[in-house]
Amino acid sequence: MNKEENIIRKSFIVFLYRGYNATSFVELSAETGMSKGTFYYYFRDKKDLLKAGLDKYTDCYKSVVEKERQITANSLREYINLILNFKEECIIHSNDMFGKCVFDSYYLKLVCEVGYILPAYRKFAADTLTIRHNDWKEKIEAAQKNGEVKSDLDASTLAYSFFSIFINTLDLSGEPISQEAIFLKMRMQFEQYYELIKA
């Protein structure tokens, strides 16, 4: 990995878990080992560096969502399991790429924080979530039609509740606990919902 790549990736992780505005050059420099000279050789300013990191991650995220949307299953139960497995794989993959796990929820928090200077990422995240919410809603409705899930439930509301489980990672204590522990909790939460909603 070249120097510039290395700085972009490491800085992105700092922005992700510390927040953009809260991160000073001193911290970035401590994390990446770059000097002020190196920084200004590659980047115009802090925003430029953030943008490079966001581009890199957003590209990954886009292809991940595309793959996620292609997942099909015979039942809602199977769909839930496949999505959870897929998301866990992606987290492991992000660890290979950025040197640390990148959780969707932190990405969302970051794009919301910097939405006022970089609105395009904010819009991309909002659009993606809206599309995924609709996908989930359709899966639930299909399961209601074929008798797998109780028919008197509001599918859209339930889809939002499923979403809320995925932000489980958004703890207040900085970096999240291990990805295994997080996914174990998510699986238990989904399992409980499933037991309650099945017909």
């Binding site: 809260a22 928090k109 932000i167 207040l172 238990m188």
Partner: protein, 200 residues
């Protein structure tokens, strides 16, 4: 209400809304209509007012929790209380902190940002969160005993599912759903979950 308190409350709301770094002292002066001299009579710098704002924030959260916890006898009480908390919009006026759930969530960015200045923030937030979880679990267990909700539901998982719905405001915010609609969605979610666990 004394002036110092008013200024601190305004600053707190600005910090929650915009983040600590982005709020300039000049903005605090403008919103509160005080002079630079008055500001520096009360505070030595921005970090000083942040420290005081956080202390107001945490003591307010604590008070709300004590009041609410003592009044809630059933899980339904808790859920109804949560939705009434959500009824009010979080705004920058003096008394915004009445609306615990939204502000607690909205304040996440601020808390992440200032953790390096005040490391104990994390500990306090985690304590609040675990107290809340403990309270919800207690209500769940009592509701099970009374036969209000089904007893084969795993208590700690249900408590997490309820907490997650409350935090969902972050996702809804990211989806550009306005706050009134977001509040309605969260209310519907809590209502639907309660209907699912209630013994009919």
């Amino acid at each position: 209400m004394d002036l110092r308190n008013d200024i601190t409350e305004v600053a707190l709301c600005l910090f929650i809304e915009k983040g600590y770094e982005l709020v300039k002292i000049s903005e605090i002066l403008e919103v509160t209509n005080i002079s630079k001299g008055t500001f520096y009579y009360h505070y030595s710098n921005k970090e000083d007012i942040l420290k005081e704002a956080l202390s107001i924030y945490f003591s307010r959260l604590k008070q709300i929790r004590i009041d609410a916890f003592s009044k809630q006898k059933t899980l339904l009480d808790y859920l109804n209380w949560t939705t009434t908390q959500l009824d009010v919009k979080p705004v920058k006026s003096g008394n915004s902190l009445k609306y615990e759930i939204l502000t607690e969530t909205m304040a996440i960015n601020l808390m992440t940002e200032v953790v390096h200045l005040f490391p104990d923030v994390t500990k306090r937030l985690l304590k609040i969160r675990s107290e809340r979880i403990f309270h919800i679990e207690k209500l769940i267990i009592e509701s099970k005993k009374r036969g209000e909700i089904s007893s084969d539901i795993e208590t700690s998982v249900l408590a997490r599912n309820i907490m997650n719905i409350e935090i969902n405001v972050i996702v809804l915010h990211a989806m550009n759903i306005n706050i009134e609609n977001a509040v309605n969605i969260i209310k519907e979610e809590l209502k639907q979950l309660y209907e699912l666990i209630r013994i009919k």
